[in-house]
């Protein structure tokens, strides 16, 4: 398996003392869906923006490795990044209602991306746009191309955003909560669409979400993020069958499973909120909310392995879960 995207020890700080991302490492292989899950404010979106090189000027970031194919993203100039963006790596955002420019028609916005990267005529760019709209399941694409964003529903706009991201057949698609703003039936349609497109095009997908249901459905690999760091990373199968980090286990306990949960039994929950982490923070960020917290959690915690592709960030040994189950 060839990695399309490889990130190691990515750090992002805002201002002088807010560490939004603290050493994230992740790999996305060709044709794979890598899900990044976590609560609001844990640094998922900031990670994605850092990879795309879209952080605001107030943010500072560094990484040991940030590689997209043979391109070293840490050294690439702004111009070089702009050449990659939209062409070989694309991103779709959470809010389809505001992600399209209200001043232009759908067709003009879609064609522009293609014209920019492929230097083709407007007419052939529009043909390509119509073809892609059809592919994402929009009927009468010719009519849609002439419409303005406010004339489309949320689900349609997200389909437009997806087809716009696919205009140049990128190898990597970063989807930042692509279905959060949509209602449940549309959400299912969009997810199915992403799955189909991925299979057809061999797309690598970095899917950011807070919804473990989506993870279970889409992911090949999962990284659980907490307070700017990845606390557990495993194949989707391993993560759901053998979660090892207390945070992951807590999250999974929060999901109601039909048939397993008694009617009046309280649903699991994790007390507290994600803390705001200062740059000089040391130790496990989850320790204030963790039932297994010990004084030693305030010291540096090392990453441990359960299997070759399953690691987690906690002082507890890999087999501690058996003791809990007993």
């Amino acid at each position: 398996m060839t990695p399309v995207l490889e990130v190691s020890n990515l750090r992002v700080t805002f201002g002088t003392n807010i560490a939004a991302v603290r050493g994230v490492s992740l790999t996305v292989n060709r044709g794979e869906t890598h899900c990044l899950v976590g609560e609001s404010g844990c640094g998922k979106s900031v990670t994605a923006l850092a990879i795309m090189g879209l952080l605001s000027r107030t943010a500072r970031h560094s990484a040991d490795i940030m590689r997209f194919h043979d391109h070293d993203l840490t050294r690439l100039s702004e111009r070089g990044m702009a050449r990659l963006r939209g062409d070989r790596m694309a991103m779709i955002f959470q809010e389809p209602m505001t992600s399209l420019n209200p001043a232009y028609t759908i067709g003009s916005q879609m064609a522009e991306v293609f014209e920019r990267h492929r230097r083709v005529s407007r007419a052939s760019a529009l043909d390509r746009a119509a073809e892609l709209l059809q592919r994402v399941g929009i009927t009468a694409p010719g009519m849609r191309l002439k419409q303005y964003p406010h004339q489309l529903s949320g689900g349609l706009r997200q389909r437009v955003m997806i087809s716009m991201a696919l205009m140049c057949e990128p190898e990597l698609l970063i989807a930042d909560e692509p279905t959060t703003a949509l209602d449940v039936t549309v959400q299912a349609q969009i997810l199915r669409l992403l799955q189909n497109l991925q299979q057809e095009l061999g797309l690598s997908l970095l899917l950011i979400t807070h919804d473990l249901g989506i993870v279970a459905r889409m992911a090949d690999r999962v990284s659980v993020m907490y307070a700017g760091d990845i606390v557990e990373s495993a194949s989707a199968n391993a993560l759901f069958t053998a979660p090892t980090h207390p945070y992951t286990r807590g999250l999974l306990r929060c999901i109601p499973v039909p048939g397993l949960l008694r009617r009046d039994a309280p649903l699991g929950s994790i007390p507290g909120v994600v803390p705001r982490i200062a740059s000089d923070f040391i130790g496990c960020a989850f320790r204030d909310r963790c039932t297994h917290a010990m004084p030693e959690c305030a010291r540096d915690v090392s990453r441990q392995r359960v299997a070759a592709d399953h690691d987690y960030l906690c002082r507890l040994s890999p087999d501690w879960t058996r003791a809990e189950a007993a």
Partner: protein
């Protein structure tokens, strides 16, 4: 009611614009031709008036209607070219400051504050007094002075637009900075700028009239409305119409522009909810 006043304003503005454009075709006389035998002829509807001079003649026997029509050209030219000049300056500064923020924004804000601390009329008077008065000097002076509202408005609206998702989406699609400023930001801040433009146009026309009235605007014998008022002030007690006709023209034009601007503001105010 609102709509009626907008239409009324638009009608006035377009009527004046039309007269300005076709003045050479419709003016009954040469606006510069003096006829000392026909001085201070009253308008047609007053005693002693004649159909030859519908609005009468001035102290040099020049046809007042023709002068009024050619004066519309000057007012419209002042209004339009001043707004183009100041709009370019102000919007450039405002968009740059609003989009890039930080040090660039500090510099832009400093320039705006400097401009706000300059008394308009005094500087305009000084410049015209030093450089000498001509139509282009007046346009340039006003254009270089009246840009601060464009800058303030475009700066704030750019700051709002900058953080919207479609700017990030355009960046994620590989758009260059130039493209983002000109094609993504600018079209979305145009509406408030058009409204500012109408207000500034009215202001520019009034300022030109004021400068001309003070004798430092458009030089005679050009038929600027302000100049006409200035020349008429010596005769206003015995022939009040010489000062009233250009005064009313000025008032009606500025009123029309303001009504149009208000109407545009109301019409576009709710567009974000579309």
């Amino acid at each position: 009611m609102r709509q009626a006043s907008t239409v009324f304003g638009a009608l006035i503005v377009f009527a004046v614009l039309l007269v300005a454009i076709i003045a050479p075709l419709v003016a009954p006389h040469d606006p510069f031709a003096q006829d000392l035998n026909q001085r201070m002829v009253p308008p047609e509807w007053m005693d002693g008036g004649s159909a030859l001079h519908p609005f009468g003649t001035d102290q040099l026997g020049r046809d007042y209607l023709s002068r009024l029509m050619y004066g519309a050209r000057i007012s419209m030219m002042i209004g339009i070219f001043t707004v183009i000049t100041s709009g370019l300056i102000g919007t450039t500064l405002g968009v740059l400051g609003g989009y890039f923020g930080g040090k660039i924004d500090d510099v832009v804000m400093f320039i705006i504050t400097c401009r706000l601390s300059i008394p308009l009329i005094l500087v305009a008077l000084t410049v015209v007094a030093l450089v000498g008065s001509s139509l282009s000097v007046v346009i340039l002076t006003l254009g270089l002075l009246l840009w601060e509202r464009f800058a303030v408005v475009s700066r704030t609206t750019t700051m709002q637009v900058r953080n919207l998702d479609y700017i990030a989406a355009a960046q994620a699609a590989g758009a260059s900075r130039r493209h983002i400023l000109l094609r993504e930001v600018l079209p979305n801040i145009l509406t408030p700028l058009v409204i500012v433009a109408t207000l500034e146009m009215a202001l520019a026309i009034l300022l030109e009239a004021a400068l001309s009235f003070l004798g430092l605007g458009v030089p005679p014998p050009l038929p600027s409305w302000g100049l006409m008022i200035a020349e008429a002030k010596d005769y206003m007690f015995f022939s009040p119409w010489v000062i009233m006709i250009p005064g009313i023209a000025l008032f009606v034009l500025v009123l029309g522009i303001n009504l149009l601007g208000d109407g545009l503001r109301d019409a576009f105010g709710g567009e974000r909810r579309a």
